[in-house]
Amino acid sequence: MGFASQDALINAITTNGQFDTAFMNKALGAAGIAGAWTLLGPHAGSPPLSVYTGTDLNFIATDDTWAEGVTWTGGDKSPATKHFLSAGASVVAAAGAPWYIMAIDMVGFVPLTTTNVSTTGTKTVTMTPIAATAANVDRYPNGEGLRLFVAADTAMGANAPTCVINYLDTGGNSGATTSFTSTASVTIGNLLNTGAAANKYNPFLPLAAGDTGVSDIVSLVWSGTAHASGTVIIGLCKPLWTIPVPATGLYTKVDFVNALPSLRRIPDGANIQFLMFQTGATTSGGTVLVDFDYAWS
């Protein structure tokens, strides 16, 4: 399915009413870090803040029914398919500009707490590999296009160990991300693999040469001096689109009908979440607003 022509799109959104708008707002619960990316999920707003509940070191698949809060996009439309038409974003904060807002489809996460963060070594993950079935967790067959990041979902303690994630690629072959240096004492949401320094990767961890996605998270390995405290998640997501926000209070609108590739699909079950890059340290209490239009046919 999808839109065979501009006429089909216009017919769908005017005659048939096959469109809707989604909205998200977040108030940042802590000051950000200049040059780093932040997962907006742990910050309050609409949807409400997420705490990433789950059994340690077990992959938690998420979709648009995730109890901790999703940006609702109307549920399953199969055999029709949903597509982004446009999106807009604004950030209001005394400091931190300019920003980038990135929409991601959060396929799932792996929580790590207590000694899985405060000790070094290999932390083995339990996960059923992503396959190519009709299940929501397999909405990107065999993990095609999926990316990895590591985010703090509570404030982190001192120390900055190095970290690597072992995974299986889309063909089930073993791979490892490039090793990154974590960040000490960051606030909630901070992506530990990002920042303005050596051994940082913004916003996603590099995969092994030639790899195009991740079907299975095998383990996370901390080395060096462990974080003194904190909880983190390994995020597994599909990047969807990015919006620049040049200055506080400005609203940027992006058209996805005439972009290339155009009309990016929203798979049934997509759990749309957001990442934010900040050039400076965004002020605590700053607000982030995102909306997007979508249609289906």
């Binding site: 303005a196 996603f204 990047p239 200055a247």
Partner: protein, 300 residues
């Protein structure tokens, strides 16, 4: 055959994960830069980390991969292309407009020769070519200051061109006065006709290696000669800032380039590429401004 033959292949590459988005942030140092002249963003702090061209003087060296904006290695049988780039620049202060209007050149940094003494008048500084140029048969040469410089200098260089012809001699090139490292110090005329690339011998289009440099007039500093492959020129318009007094106003723009639309040929990014930017600031000094952007690649 690698490459894209139709739009559907671009969509398929995106769907199948043969794409990458990376993001960079480069903070220019506090020393004033020369209006209308160039700077080398790779030299300044941020992500990727600063590239000071710090290796043995006059010995050829490849720029370390960690000094470049990260892009994946796609392997043989595939070609990776620049798909999209979005650029913004944070002003150095609430009222500064000096970092608006930048001409940006995305380049693959290939080879460099550090610590050329621009005061060594009459002395032929002979290069040691222990490392050969990677990825391309040749590229353009950019002179990057590695210190402040105090005078308008004049130099020539001998080189091998990209056809492999040895013994080529550049035209007279000028250096000029700058306040710190990271600034492009190449000019023509009396030293105020700023030029991105070192002027070569007539008929040459690129350089594969440099054999020597000779200054006839002292420049009062140190510089690196860097061979780069230019990939894409782009323009950045308005700085990002927010006033703090009177009527509070926000300013800023993001410039976006979709390479298949805005750049004939869709620049190829070869495996191992070390990507970074040169820029000319036409509105004033770029000191303490911060360039940020996202860069998307796609391969087939």
């Amino acid at each position: 055959m690698p490459g894209f033959r139709k739009i559907a292949e671009i969509s398929s590459a995106d769907k199948e994960g043969r794409c990458w988005i990376t993001q960079f942030r480069k903070a220019v140092a506090s020393a004033a830069t020369v209006q209308n002249a160039g700077i080398d963003y790779s030299y300044f702090a941020g992500s990727p980390p600063a590239n000071f061209y710090a290796s043995s003087p006059l010995v050829s060296s490849a720029v370390e991969s960690i000094r470049g904006i990260y892009v994946p290695t796609v392997g043989s049988g595939r070609k990776q292309f620049l798909n999209n780039i979005r650029i913004m620049s944070a002003a150095s202060g609430a009222t500064s407009t000096a970092n608006g209007r930048q001409l940006l050149l995305l380049a693959d940094y290939l080879l460099y020769y550090p610590f050329v003494d621009t005061d060594a008048v009459g002395e032929e500084q002979v290069m040691e070519n222990t490392v050969t140029i990677p990825r391309y048969p040749g590229g353009q040469v950019i002179a990057v200051a590695q210190s402040a410089s105090s005078a308008i200098g004049t130099f020539t260089m001998t080189y091998t061109n990209e056809q492999g012809v040895v013994g080529r001699v550049s035209q007279d090139n000028r250096t000029f006065i700058v306040a710190g490292g990271g600034q492009v110090v190449n000019a023509l005329g009396s030293g105020a006709s700023y030029n991105s690339f070192v002027n070569l011998q007539a008929g040459d289009e690129g350089v594969s290696s440099i054999q020597s440099v000779t200054f006839s007039v002292a420049g009062g500093g140190l510089m690196a000669l860097v061979i780069v492959k230019p990939l894409m020129l782009m323009y950045f318009n308005q700085e990002s800032r927010r006033t703090t007094s009177s009527n509070l106003e926000s300013y800023g723009a993001c410039d976006e380039f979709q390479s298949v639309i805005h750049k004939a040929g869709m620049p190829e990014i070869k495996d191992g590429a070390v990507l970074n930017f040169f820029a000319s600031g036409f509105a004033g000094s770029l000191a303490s401004s911060i360039l940020v952007g996202t860069l998307e690649t796609i391969w087939n």
